[in-house]
């Protein structure tokens, strides 16, 4: 009788019981949950691979997006001035055939977002209409004031529950845990291309910049004698050497060996395809991160892919807002690149894109020309073909500075809010879970305090 080898089992692992048991061991999810996971998918739409751009620096989307050029609010917002910005450092950024300069950040323009007409920095007009049709801005508060709070903000200050209600979890990992099995992705934790210290179930996640990922993908199976033969040799060695550990070792030892086996099988699975998809990636810029993320989504490599993003970052001393101007224009270009790549690889309908930041930046400039921290007004960007573009939440200036209002979850506006302004972070996160395709009962368990905003679906 032909022996059923470990390698053969691993090669078919994505569909097998062993795969489930490995995933169960690795993720901590009960087998029953893994087996029945697909049943959750239907009630809130198709699950999406989620691309999350994160910033612990705090980003000034709130200063160039909807509301920041609203009539009557001029005195609450200060924008880059083209005649002050160091033109040599910014220059012109070409987006979708349009030449963008700091002038496009100084002045607002009326444009469509979904079925709404809004006024925001003119640079956004460079994004194609079909992108803006599905681009949503979500005003909220993170209630954070300092950079080290970012890991806490990612848990909504403890409001995102861990698996089974145990402890707190960061939003990217919570989404990954809820969607990995439904999406049948290769790995079950977020893949981090950039974005700082992320963790999953308390275990820190490694970061692989695009060029590293590309190099690694091309390194799969380079041993003498061919990858298949080497794989057989290696697996035979592991089976013989660690048989006793696998039967009588500690739980941690068994878990390590299971992870080790599944990781090698997964690497073989995606290696060559990823190399081809990343052919045009030549650096680790944010644009490259987003394009790499789309390629990974195409391969269903991970349920959540994390990148950096920047609209100026920690720019207290950006005295003429040159840095902010430069990064904002390049970020708009990167968004366009993300959308083009998604359409080109035919995954535009399969992904959700959103941003997460520790706080926004002050709408007005500080003594040194740059912007301070502003946890009371953050603007998240959300993009997906299943989303009706527009704006959720509003700005309130009655306190003397622009802050996020509460949210009416039915209309998405700030009028008659049923979510207080202080709780909008939970609601933003819960809505992202909804848009990622996490079922309602799971959303309620993971973020009990938040509410769904449904106006944009």
């Amino acid at each position: 009788m032909k022996r059923f080898s470990r390698r053969q089992m691993l090669s078919g692992m994505t569909k097998s019981g062993l795969a489930l048991s490995l995933r169960s061991a690795i993720t901590g999810l009960p087998m029953s949950f893994l087996l029945t996971g697909k049943a959750h998918a239907a009630d809130d739409g198709e699950p999406k691979i989620t691309i999350l751009s994160c910033s612990g620096a705090g980003e000034a989307v709130n200063v160039c997006g909807p509301g920041s050029f609203a009539p009557g609010l001029e005195s609450y917002f200060e924008h880059p001035r083209a005649n002050e910005v160091d033109a040599g450092d910014v220059g012109t950024v070409m987006v979708n055939g349009m030449s963008l300069t700091a002038e496009h950040l100084e002045h607002g323009a009326e444009m469509s977002l979904g079925d709404r007409s809004v006024t925001m920095a003119a640079a956004w007009e460079a994004l194609p209409a079909d992108l803006r049709e599905h681009l949503l801005f979500f005003h909220h508060r993170t209630n954070a004031g300092i950079h080290p709070q970012f890991p806490t903000v990612l848990t909504a200050h403890g409001g995102v529950q861990g698996m089974g209600g145990r402890g707190a979890e960061q939003l990217p990992s919570a989404i990954a845990q809820e969607t990995a099995d439904i999406l049948d992705t290769t790995t079950t934790t977020p893949f981090v291309l950039g974005g700082g210290a992320l963790s999953s179930e308390g275990a820190p996640l490694p970061i692989y910049a695009p060029m590293q990922a590309k190099m690694l993908a091309s390194s799969v199976g380079n041993a003498v004698g061919g990858p298949e033969n080497f794989g057989a040799l290696y697996d035979h060695y592991i089976d013989q050497t660690y048989a006793q550990v696998k039967s009588s070792g500690t739980a941690e030892q068994k878990k390590f060996l299971a992870q080790h086996a599944s990781s090698r099988a997964q690497a073989t699975e995606f290696g060559e395809n990823l190399v081809q998809l990343l052919e045009g990636i030549t650096d680790d810029s944010i644009e490259s991160q987003l394009r790499t993320a789309v390629a990974m989504a195409k391969l269903k490599l991970a349920p959540v892919i994390v990148t950096n993003f920047s609209f100026g970052g920690d720019n207290h001393s950006d005295f003429d807002l040159t840095i902010e101007s430069n990064r904002t224009l390049h970020m708009i270009k990167a968004l366009d690149a993300l959308w083009q790549a998604a359409k080109s690889l035919d995954v535009a309908d399969d992904i959700l894109y959103a941003t997460l930041t520790v706080f926004g930046r002050d709408a007005t400039r500080g003594a040194k020309g740059g912007r301070g921290h502003h946890g009371a007004l953050c603007t998240g960007m959300v993009l997906g073909s299943h989303i009706q573009g527009g704006v959720v939440g509003e700005m309130d200036t009655s306190s003397g500075q622009a802050v996020a209002t509460g949210i009416n979850t039915g209309t998405g506006t700030g009028a008659d809010p049923d979510v207080p302004a202080e709780d909008t972070l939970h609601t933003y996160y819960k809505t992202l879970m909804l848009l990622a395709g996490v079922p309602a009962d799971r959303r309620d368990e993971r973020i009990p305090e938040g509410q769904d905003v449904t106006s944009m679906i």
């Binding site: 709070q149 290769t186 790995t187 490694p206 035979h236 070792g249 992870q259 997964q266 009990p448």
Partner: protein
């Protein structure tokens, strides 16, 4: 406004803000989390005090009386009359309605003083646990033998439960709202709950680890090499379990080796945070990114590391890393420090022009060759950096046409020669103070400040390095100065921000009196700055300078515990609990040793924190953790083991390959292996420990890429292949780590022989399926038909990425 009033205002704001933000959670989550957990722990009735709110209205404040009057007899038949005790006396609700949980949440590190009152397992977590407050280390949060001595009760009702410790043990009365107190009936409820608790039965009892696993792990981490059979026999008891005393003897031996020094250096590089991510010292020295400036960057990075090594080797008090001005320096470094004693020359546009001796470090090396970036970066010596703000030595002007600048420029060659002449043990005057790890150019560059941040990041990171703790709004440590150091427009009294800034901003002037916040160079403030203060997490010391501020930091009572936790995480890949009694005991030992870091290494690596294990899933026993070998550990171990392999083949004099930098490709692959890193505001290291596909590929790619260098027929190779038997012997022991003479060795050696024979066997199998079947066949008919060298290269690739090399704890 008095300090007391300040606290009241903070507390009032805090409570108001949080009551809005958390209103729903306080009433929903807590009952869900705590009630379930506590009811289970306390056998159902323990969370009920058995009375009604009104019953306690006239309660005597004497605790015994209060206890006696707690109406425990209510509803003794267990019937539910609709107004049962549990309706009002649920500990979760008590904590919730008294606003305890907004700070003491599941993530209590930020503003809850590390005390989590929300998560499941409250009793197990708190019973018998010493306080995190350094002054109260002898007291426990919950004392089930003497409930009145529980710090939990003493902080919520200090008038009712007289503290058992002296004035040293001081807490802010809780909740942090001076105008509010916990109602007597709620206090009684908590006391009764405590009285109903039993000594928690450990659900995850640690057990002694397997001697082979533990000894291999410890040697891997401390030295990098494989254990010998003698070492294994020495540390094994009759059941094959680890013997801690014997392990300590071995640890002491391993610590005498150069391999250990390299590993200790890795630890110091991580913990002293002297490695800026981009290596570009633009703000301090304008021009350092070029390849020719690498010697400067290396000198910056290593100065304090070498200083720390000297302190440790000389068995000095390790706290000197905070106060020392006796630094290990090179001439290049002295030149840079002297440059930073002068101001940047600014254009009217605010730009710092390069190409002059004030601003541009590169100009000192390249234009006139005053410094030899090679020779002047090599001679390390101990030099005392004497702070003299009035020194005029090497003083320059503020403009390029300033006579002072012209004189400085003309004397540049002479200056270089002077700095070169300063001997080991000599001294040099500097206008900017250079004290401890937190004033090095590397630390300033790692944590770049600016004139808004005004050294807050520098100070916070210094706190984290020295004490493992950060600022907290609930910190009630006595303050010694008025509020003139605090910008009350930005951080108004009563705001949440003020809670941290009241302590932090009083420290800023120790820095801003000496350094420019833009470029961290020497700086005289335009006006007199307020007197600094040191008030932080239970330690309050009046200070008047950065030197006395540093001394105050060095005397912080949490120093010892912080460094035990740092070492524990580095060694176990687990976030070790600073309240773990074994951590506390080691901290006490460390302190009593005179803060000798080598002593701590020796004790920790043979301690039960390191050697115990557990068979439970999701265990929190630190020693049970199995992790990937992160980059620093793996690359060092691979190098050490190849060196040992050379020695075993009679070629000890040859230098071994470093597989992580053996080629350009290896460089990238090696750097893709996850490593330990530190982060802003983080008290723990960022330590990826799980194996993922990209991590697996990093190891496999690196191992296969290095194979042609490690195994080849040339003289540079570690294994030449002319004696395959010897190569397999050495790989089994020195690389895979199975000690020669042991049972495992015999099995492994046979296995490698089989793998080797299969590969060189001809003819080549038709396909991989056939080849795979030959691996388990008694009469194989084909193989891979590889040469001996090729087969050994594959054996290396297998050994290099075997779990015993890429994992720690197997």
């Amino acid at each position: 406004m008095s300090v007391k009033d300040e606290y009241k205002a903070i507390a009032a704001y805090d409570a108001r803000w949080r009551s809005i933000a958390n209103a729903s959670r306080l009433s929903r989550d807590l009952s869900r989390h705590l009630a379930v957990g506590l009811v289970a722990l306390a056998a159902g009735s323990a969370t009920s005090c058995g009375g009604r709110p009104g019953d306690a209205g006239g309660m005597d404040t004497d605790s015994e009386t209060a206890t006696d009057s707690a109406p425990n007899d209510n509803d003794s038949d267990g019937s539910d009359d609709g107004d049962s005790a549990a309706d009002w006396c649920d500990v979760s609700e008590v904590l919730a309605r008294n606003a305890c949980l907004s700070c003491h949440s599941e993530t209590p590190e930020f503003n809850g003083g590390g005390l989590d009152l929300v998560s499941d397992g409250l009793a197990e977590r708190l019973v018998g646990r010493p306080s995190n407050n350094p002054g109260c280390a002898q007291s426990v949060i919950i004392d089930i033998d003497t409930p009145q001595a529980s710090l939990l009760l003493q902080t919520i009702a200090p008038e009712r439960y007289a503290p058992v410790e002296g004035e040293q043990c001081q807490f802010a009365p809780m909740p942090l709202l001076s105008d509010a107190t916990v109602p007597p009936e709620d206090v009684t409820c908590i006391e009764e709950w405590i009285r109903g608790l039993e000594e928690p039965v450990p659900v995850d009892p640690p057990v002694p680890g397997d001697a082979f696993v533990v000894a291999s792990k410890v040697k891997y981490l401390l030295h990098g090499g494989a254990i010998t059979n003698d070492e294994l026999l020495q540390v094994s008891d009759d059941d094959g379990k680890i013997v801690n005393d014997a392990l300590e003897t071995l640890v002491a031996e391993w610590m005498t080796t150069p391999e250990f020094r390299a590993k200790r250096r890795q630890f110091l590089e991580l913990t002293l945070q002297q490695d800026p991510s981009d290596g570009n010292y633009f703000y301090q020295f304008r021009n350092t990114k070029n390849l020719s400036m690498k010697p400067f960057r290396d000198n910056f990075r290593m100065s304090m590391i070498r200083t720390a090594e000297r302190i440790v080797d000389d068995e000095e008090d390790f706290r000197s890393i905070i106060t020392t001005n006796e630094w290990e320096v090179t001439t290049l470094l002295l030149g840079a420090l002297k440059m930073a004693d002068n101001p940047m020359i600014l254009k009217s546009s605010g730009i710092w022009p390069k190409g002059n001796y004030n601003n541009d470090l590169r100009s000192l090396v390249n234009s006139e060759g005053f410094y030899d970036s090679d020779l002047d970066s090599k001679v390390w010596r101990t030099v005392t950096l004497v702070h003299n703000p009035d020194s005029t030595h090497m003083l320059s002007g503020t403009k390029l046409d300033d006579p002072l600048y012209l004189e400085y420029e003309a004397n540049a060659q002479e200056h270089a020669q002077y700095l070169r002449s300063i001997p080991d043990g000599g001294s040099v005057e500097l206008r900017a103070p250079r004290i401890g790890f937190f004033t090095t150019p590397a630390f300033f560059q790692t944590w770049i400040t600016n004139d808004d941040n005004d050294f807050r990041v520098t100070i916070n990171q210094a706190m984290l390095v020295a004490t493992g703790r950060s600022f907290s709004p609930g910190d009630i440590t006595p303050i010694n100065t008025d509020m003139s150091a605090i910008d009350l427009d930005v951080f108004p009294v009563g705001s949440e921000c003020h809670g941290c800034h009241k302590n932090m901003d009083r420290m800023l002037t120790a820095f801003s009196a000496n350094y420019d916040p833009i470029n961290s160079r020497q700086h005289f403030p335009e006006q007199t700055v307020p007197q600094p203060d040191f008030s932080f997490q239970g330690h309050s010391v009046p200070v008047d300078s950065i030197q006395t501020w540093a001394e105050a930091l060095a005397s912080h009572p949490n120093f010892a515990r912080a460094w035990v936790v740092k070492l524990c995480q580095w060694g176990t890949s687990a976030k070790c609990d600073p309240l773990d009694p074994r951590v506390v005991a080691l901290a006490t030992d460390f302190e009593e040793s005179g803060f000798r870091l080598n002593y701590l290494f020796e004790k920790f690596f043979a301690s039960r924190l390191m050697t115990d294990t557990s068979y439970m899933e999701g265990t929190e026993v630190p020693g049970a953790r199995v992790s990937i070998a992160r980059q620093g550990h793996f690359c060092h171990a691979a190098h050490t083991r190849l060196k040992a392999a050379l020695a075993a083949q009679g070629e000890a004099e040859k230098s071994a390959a470093n597989v992580c930098s053996i080629s350009d490709e290896a460089d990238i692959l090696g750097s893709s292996i996850p490593d330990d890193t530190f982060g802003r505001g983080e008290s723990y290291l960022h330590q990826p420990r799980d194996m993922g596909p990209f991590t697996a590929v990093s190891f496999e790619g690196l191992c296969s890429t290095s194979a042609p260098f490690v195994v080849a027929s040339n003289n540079k190779a570690v294994f030449r292949g002319d004696d395959p038997e010897q190569v397999l012997d050495v790989m089994t022991y020195q690389v895979l780590g199975f000690p020669e003479g042991s049972e495992q060795y015999t099995t492994q050696r046979e296995l490698l022989q089989d793998l080797y024979d299969t590969q060189i066997r001809g003819p080549a199998c038709a396909d991989s399926a056939v080849f795979e079947s030959t691996l388990t066949s008694d009469q194989p008919q084909c193989g891979l038909d590889l040469s001996a060298i090729e087969a050994l290269q594959n054996i290396w690739t297998i050994a290099c990425q075997s779990p015993s090399m890429i994992g720690v704890g197997l």
